[in-house]
């Protein structure tokens, strides 16, 4: 606040701030930056929780049925801290739920979307600030519901994050998670409502509130990623919400959308029938496949910005990048069936979905080639955000290519529901999105808090994370090739998989190392809040609009009216005096004209 020094707008704010209470300023704030930070802190905490859940899973896989360190005793006092199979199903269900719905989706759209969209397009706030505030506070019911679901006695939701019926609908099928499953579904519904509010806001803001001269094709790719994501959410989410409600009704009212006739589960016969379990899978994946892109597109955008900035060179093929984002989004709606190749869906459909799925690799390939094109011929600065972004590219290559195996239907017969797919989506989501998010945090941290994070610690954090990440996830491909199935509490009683235990131990220790490494990050993050080097507006020498605002920006963001003269990637421009050429800097020959693109 005190850093806002110029402009009558800011002065107005200051006078009002003295009257505004702490609650309206920092808790129920309608300022997109506060909301963004609220999202950021909430999701980072959940990220930690999700990581610990993952360690629980890994412990069981490395040392099945042995006493679990630290938390074992309080969970299973009578059993000597031995993990129980129900708890294992709860663990992986909750790990996926937390990571997907509380970390990846809200940290991209909620945290960075909120923080960056108005700043990068030159607006003073979102189009609907109150809606924006609500989108954050609707996450809290979800936090509590999922938390309650986890702590529901005796065991939390155990239907997997995909919540396939009848397992998730018939109480007797997963009896430990009877009411927990309902809580889980309601929690997911709240996440959906929150995302929906956000997506409406982002779309409107990006379309309506761009600064003068900020044409659609001068938007940074981050904004394009967020924009397309918002559209995806707006179209796909209602399906999940509806399907979720159908499942809640199946559970509570016995409607039987997803239950066929004649089940006998745990010696009881469900009252309803006449439904079809595959219906849920269709509805679920109709949302959740686009959701996969919701989880990666904004990260791709942010990575593009960071790479271009630190290669000191324009992004290679800006428009193809935009088209490929749109292409991924469009194709994303017609490929959901590739999750269901062996589900019992008509196999003829498998052929159609195989072709469309193969096609989605194409825009992804275009993006990778463009990132390579961007660093080609640049002057690369190996800063921490750059390293994380480069690792995004490197890991995304692996994650993208392993996707082709799954897309090929006959190969998918073998590797479906094995660790091959676990490797694939962890490469995309952890190696990809999470690494991009780390990069983005290091990159925008000075803007958010006015201080730099420690570069040395950042590089150590990157190095260890990168090593442990590959140690944990690359080996999963090999396990997948043996057919090692997911979600098994004890795979080693199968002769086929018995010899895989040493490999799993290696992975577990890598995973423990990976989580431990994040302590460095947490330390860096918190200590930099207090002792970080204070910085000015543009510490990295970047072009896009947010770097023209104060660090941290005050209420209303800009202390001047930004006017945009060019695209965001004009690094190393021959006309420019510096090696970057900010979007707000007028061209030397005609400083007043706002050029049309």
């Amino acid at each position: 606040m005190s850093s806002i020094t110029a402009g009558s707008h800011a002065h107005e704010h200051e006078s009002s701030a003295t009257h505004a209470s702490f609650i309206s300023t920092y808790v129920f704030s309608r300022d997109h930056k506060i909301i963004g930070l609220q999202f950021l802190f909430s999701t980072l905490l959940w990220f930690f929780v999700g990581g610990l859940l993952a360690l629980g899973i890994r412990w069981q896989l490395a040392y099945p049925w042995t006493n679990m360190p630290i938390i074992g005793k309080m969970l299973f006092p009578g059993e000597g801290g031995q993990i129980s199979p129900e708890f294992y199903t709860t663990l992986f269900t909750m790990h996926a739920t937390v990571m997907i719905f509380f970390v990846i989706i809200p940290i991209l759209a909620g945290a960075f979307g909120n923080y960056l969209i108005p700043l990068m397009i030159g607006a003073d706030d979102m189009a609907f600030p109150t809606l924006n505030m609500l989108s954050y506070w609707f996450m809290w019911p979800a936090f509590f519901l999922i938390g309650a679901s986890f702590f529901t006695a005796p065991y939390g939701a155990g239907g997997g994050w995909t919540s396939y019926p009848p397992l998730s609908v018939v109480n007797e099928a997963a009896p430990g998670s009877a009411s927990a499953q309902t809580l889980w579904l309601l929690g997911i519904t709240f996440v959906g409502i929150s995302s929906m509010m956000g997506s409406v806001n982002y779309m409107t803001t990006i379309i309506q509130m761009r600064a003068p001269g900020m044409t659609m094709f001068r938007l940074p790719l981050t904004i394009w990623g967020m924009f397309i994501t918002a559209i995806l959410q707006a179209f796909a989410l209602p399906v999940l919400t509806a399907a979720g409600f159908m499942q809640v009704m199946d559970r509570l009212l016995g409607t039987g959308f997803f239950l066929p006739e004649g089940l006998i589960v745990n010696n009881s016969i469900p009252a309803s029938g006449g439904g079809q379990p595959l219906l849920w899978q269709h509805l679920f994946w109709f949302y959740s496949h686009p959701a996969v892109y919701i989880m990666i597109l904004p990260a791709m955008g942010m990575v593009s910005d960071i790479i271009s900035c630190f290669a000191r060179k324009p992004i290679f093929g800006y428009k193809p990048m935009v088209y490929s984002i749109s292409g991924i989004a469009g194709l994303g709606f017609i490929v959901w069936g590739h999750h269901m190749f062996v589900s019992g869906m008509n196999p003829v459909l498998g052929m159609t979905f195989m072709v469309s799925t193969m096609m989605i690799a194409l825009p992804s390939a275009v993006k990778v080639f463009n990132w390579l094109g961007t660093i080609w011929g640049g002057k690369i600065e190996f800063t921490t955000p750059m390293l994380f972004s480069l690792s995004f590219v490197s890991m995304f290559i692996i994650g993208g290519l392993s996707g082709i195996f799954m897309a090929a239907t006959p190969v998918d017969i073998f590797i479906h529901d094995t660790y091959f797919i676990v490797a694939h989506f962890h490469y995309v989501l952890f190696g990809g999105t999470a690494m991009a998010v780390f990069g983005a945090i290091y990159f925008w941290y000075p803007k958010m808090f006015g201080r730099m994070m420690n570069e040395q610690l950042g590089k150590v954090h990157f190095f260890l994370t990168f090593i442990f990440l590959n140690g944990t996830f690359f080996t999963m491909h090999v396990l997948g090739a043996v057919g090692f199935p997911r979600r098994l509490a004890d795979p080693y009683h199968y002769d086929t998989f018995q010899h895989l235990m040493p490999m799993n131990r290696f992975m577990t220790w890598c995973a423990i190392g990976m989580v431990a490494t994040q302590v460095i990050f947490a330390f860096n993050f918190i200590s930099s809040l207090f002792f970080g080097k204070p910085v000015g507006r543009n510490p990295w020498g970047c072009n896009s609009l947010e770097w023209s605002a104060p660090s941290p920006p005050g209420h209303g963001n800009f202390d001047f009216q930004p006017v945009v003269y060019r695209g965001p990637y004009e690094y190393g421009h021959p006309d420019a005096t510096k090696n970057h050429y900010p979007q707000i800097e007028p061209p030397p020959e005609n400083p007043t004209e706002v050029p049309e693109h």
Binding site: I264, V411, R487
Partner: protein, 281 residues
């Protein structure tokens, strides 16, 4: 430091290829047998070949792009590259080239797979009979499908197997029942009917490259032709509740003679009606 980081990124393709290569040489330490399990189905090689084809294709792309990434990082390190950057916004030609080449490759992969998929999931074994017009090999040929040798029912948490018995039809009183113990004759096309009593399961035979989710309310057929004698795992590959991990079955492939003998033995055991013999297998 730029050099160091470039080498770190070089390590990705080097170690990646290394791990896969070590895994593919199935008897190398420490990745002993960390590769596709022994294939005992006649058509299993098709899936293995496709897997390998895609592996080589993607491997080339992986190594290519990763090396390019390394090389660009090495060469254009800001500390070493003192010249001006190449100020360019892209190349239309390049974009077209690297769109069309992957597109063609991917389409090729997709179409190349169709037959394998159809063999595995669509064309159920059977005999073709003359059609309505009385002629063979026409569009309207009738197919008399091969009857299943056994019915495999998934339930929480076991595989209940029911052999057709003497009359060749599953569901009659002469059926032979076993739990988690599937015996099959070698070198014969085997059709199994799979169904579920309660929730979703997945009938997974890693050694036969066969997997099919078992959906309650549906009876599905799976088929394959075992080509080797031995004993192999039946795995459940779809989350079916807390006991998912323990749905272990055993598939024993044996010669027709042994199989018939086994089935007769099972039938006899199932008819056990005196105490003296109760300690039998």
């Amino acid at each position: 430091m730029g050099r160091f980081w470039s080498l770190l990124f070089l390590a990705v393709p080097v170690l990646g290829v290394g791990v896969f290569a070590a895994a593919m040489m199935t008897d190398s330490w420490p990745l002993h047998n960390h590769w596709l399990p022994r294939d005992v189905s006649e058509k299993g090689y098709v899936i293995d070949n496709l897997f390998n084809t895609i592996l080589y294709l993607t491997g080339v792309i992986f190594v290519g792009t990763s090396l390019a990434l390394f090389w660009f990082l090495w060469k254009y390190d800001g500390e070493k590259n003192l010249g001006p950057v190449r100020f360019l916004h892209g190349s239309h030609t390049l974009e077209v080239v690297w769109s069309i080449i992957p597109a063609a490759t991917l389409l090729f992969i997709a179409i190349y797979q169709m037959n394998a998929w159809a063999d595995a999931k669509i064309d159920r074994p059977g005999t073709r009979l003359a059609g309505a017009d009385g002629r063979m090999n026409t569009e309207d040929d009738l197919v008399e499908f091969q009857l299943p040798i056994a019915q495999v029912t998934g339930r929480q948490f076991e595989w209940r197997i029911r052999y057709a018995g003497r009359d060749g039809v599953v569901g009659t009183s002469d059926d032979v029942h076993t739990v988690n113990d599937l015996h099959l004759p070698v070198d014969e096309e085997v059709v199994l009917q799979i169904k579920s009593d309660d929730v979703l399961h997945s009938f997974f035979l890693p050694n036969c490259r066969l997997k099919q989710d078992v959906v309650p309310g549906m009876k599905q057929m799976v088929w394959f032709k075992p080509k080797e004698v031995g004993s192999f795992d039946i795995v459940c590959a779809e989350l079916c509740g807390w006991g998912h991990y323990k749905m272990k079955g055993r598939m024993t492939i044996q010669s027709r003679k042994d199989f018939d003998q086994w089935l007769t033995d099972q039938e006899r055991i199932q008819q056990e009606s005196s105490f003296a013999l109760s300690e039998e297998e």
